[in-house]
């Protein structure tokens, strides 16, 4: 068989992982829009969601849905704590210092996870078994459909939060004009705090849905976090729609690359894309509100 024969199959796998990159990228964008912070601990939320669910399921004996729900709540609390203990005390610091702080937090979270949960890779059971469905000539595991469904529901929820609630509009107001929002009594610190909770929750859900297909381990968050960041930059840094588009494009390109290059190099594809986009189009596919379009 030629590599082209695998393209439809690889494309469908790319859509699944692309959905997860989109969610992680949205987590980056949600925090960046509220605070200009690039939270490099975003991938740790994905890893923690899966790890905590695993231990509540296996160790705690909780039913799967309850374990997942408790894990999401715990990760949201960890997101809040990350803001309160690391970023709020540094609220007057420069962006590079905040960036280093989130990198430090990422290392701290992954190493603490290794100490608490061990270093072995873990996986979660698929929601509806592992028997692949055949659609046309493509085999799809049912979990992929759950990933796409959850991504779709989260995107709708985020859209409704941003556009249909006063809280979402206050977050938008605080991100577009912090001084104007401050003068109306909309606390920027509270909005950033809430953004950390929303991002942590999205990351945890992404982790729970994707882990039955891939595995997770204490260091898995770093790579998926970086890929989510690449997705957000690729689509247009600071734009929700950019993170979604960037996530799917990255997932599909990365997956299709397996047909042409050894699969061991797959992870390098995302970083080659990052380099190319930074060289040739830093504002991303859809443009970025944070990057001056006149210069590019």
């Amino acid at each position: 068989m030629t590599p082209w024969a695998y393209i439809p199959q690889l494309f469908s796998a790319g859509i699944t992982i692309g959905a997860i990159y989109a969610l992680v990228g949205l987590g980056f964008v949600t925090i960046a829009r509220a605070s200009q912070i690039i939270n490099f601990a975003q991938g740790e939320f994905v890893m923690l969601g899966a790890m905590i669910t695993f231990f509540l399921l296996k160790g705690g004996g909780l039913p799967y849905p309850l374990a997942a729900l408790v894990a999401v709540i715990l990760v949201v609390i960890i997101g809040f704590l990350l803001h309160i203990t690391v970023l709020y005390p540094l609220r007057k610091a420069s962006i590079p210092i905040l960036l280093m702080a989130t990198l430090g937090a990422s290392i701290f979270i992954s190493n603490t996870t290794a100490l608490v949960f061990g270093t072995l890779p873990r996986t979660l059971p698929a929601f509806l078994g592992n028997q692949p469905l055949q659609i046309g000539g493509i085999f799809i595991v049912p979990q992929s459909l759950f990933v796409l469904g959850a991504t779709f529901l989260l995107l709708i929820s985020l859209y409704l939060l941003s556009h249909r609630t006063l809280l979402g509009k206050a977050m938008e107001a605080s991100s577009t004009d912090p001084l104007g929002a401050d003068l109306l009594g909309i606390s920027r610190n509270l909005m950033v705090f809430l953004a950390f909770g929303v991002s942590a929750g999205m990351g945890a859900i992404a982790g729970i849905f994707i882990t039955p297909i891939f595995y997770t381990s204490y260091h898995a968050g770093t790579l998926i976090g970086l890929k989510g960041f690449v997705a957000a930059v690729l689509g247009g840094w600071g734009k929700n729609s950019g993170a979604i588009l960037g996530g799917f494009v990255l997932g599909v390109v990365e997956s299709l690359s397996i047909a042409f290059i050894p699969s061991g190099y797959k992870d390098a594809v995302a970083f080659v894309i990052l380099l190319l986009i930074l060289y040739f189009r830093p504002k991303g596919i859809l443009g970025s509100p944070f990057i001056d379009s006149r210069r590019w």
């Binding site: 006063l166 509009k169 206050a170 938008e172 107001a173 577009t176 004009d177 001084l179 104007g180 929002a181 401050d182 003068l183 109306l184 009594g185 909309i186 606390s187």
Partner: protein
């Protein structure tokens, strides 16, 4: 209503305000005039908690509000329309207005009442309520910024250069609205570059220069004072020179 006692503010090592003391009484319109970089915006930002004081106190309705967070100051009843408007361009006009009532916990009826009043003051905002705020003209954006501050139901409104960059038609409309707001009991503290305009609608005024209060008193006598005439002459002279040089 607002009492400021010996207020000093620094930007790093630079002293922006030195021992400012002034008072705004309930129901008054008070103007603060002065040349550029006199410290007028700094004073308003210090009252509303954006900047911290080095020394001195700020009292509002006999309560010490010095260095409180901006959201606590808004909830006490002080609204602030900043220089440069600072509207939220991606939100609609109506959403911008609703943000003004975000933390004041008013009932739906009160919010609706405030909205009706704002639409009465600035009918164009009602016409454009679904439009994105970033697409409004400069004058309409200024009306929106004022309306947004009114949504919180303030007792005292701080206005920073409300006529800056506006066509005369909009300036007239906005100053007519200030008169109406004051007629309905709202106390106004206006920082304004248009000296004649601000002293014409205010009961009292203060002159600020280099971070110090030079003079204060009833607007009618202030406008006749040597210091204010010198300031006006300086402005007229600079306008004349700009016109002559064709810049």
């Amino acid at each position: 209503m607002l009492r400021i006692k010996k207020l000093t503010v620094h930007y790093g090592p630079l002293r922006a305000l030195k021992e400012i003391s002034l008072e705004v009484k309930r129901g008054e319109v008070v103007a603060l005039i002065g040349p550029n970089r006199a410290g007028k915006t700094t004073l308003l930002c210090t009252i509303s908690g954006i900047l911290e004081t080095t020394e001195g106190r700020v009292f509002f309705q006999e309560e010490d509000i010095t260095n409180l967070n901006p959201h606590k100051i808004v909830s006490r009843g002080i609204g602030h329309v900043p220089q440069g408007r600072h509207i939220f361009p991606t939100l609609s006009v109506l959403d911008n207005l609703m943000m003004g009532a975000y933390i004041t916990r008013k009932s739906k009826g009160e919010i609706q009442g405030n909205l009706e009043w704002i639409y009465e003051l600035f009918p164009i905002l009602k016409e454009r309520k679904e439009q994105r705020a970033g697409t409004l003209s400069g004058g309409e954006q200024q009306m929106l910024a004022i309306g947004r501050a009114l949504m919180g139901g303030p007792k005292l409104l701080l206005l920073d250069e409300p006529s800056m960059g506006l066509a005369p038609r909009f300036t007239e409309e906005i100053f007519a609205a200030f008169k109406e707001m004051n007629r309905r009991g709202l106390t106004l503290f206006i920082v304004e570059q248009e000296i004649h305009l601000s002293l014409a609608i205010s009961h009292r005024g203060y002159l600020l220069r280099n971070g110090r209060l030079i003079k204060g008193g009833p607007s009618s006598s202030l406008i006749e004072s040597h210091e204010v005439k010198a300031l006006c002459l300086g402005e007229d002279m600079s306008k004349y020179l700009v016109q002559r040089s064709g810049i």
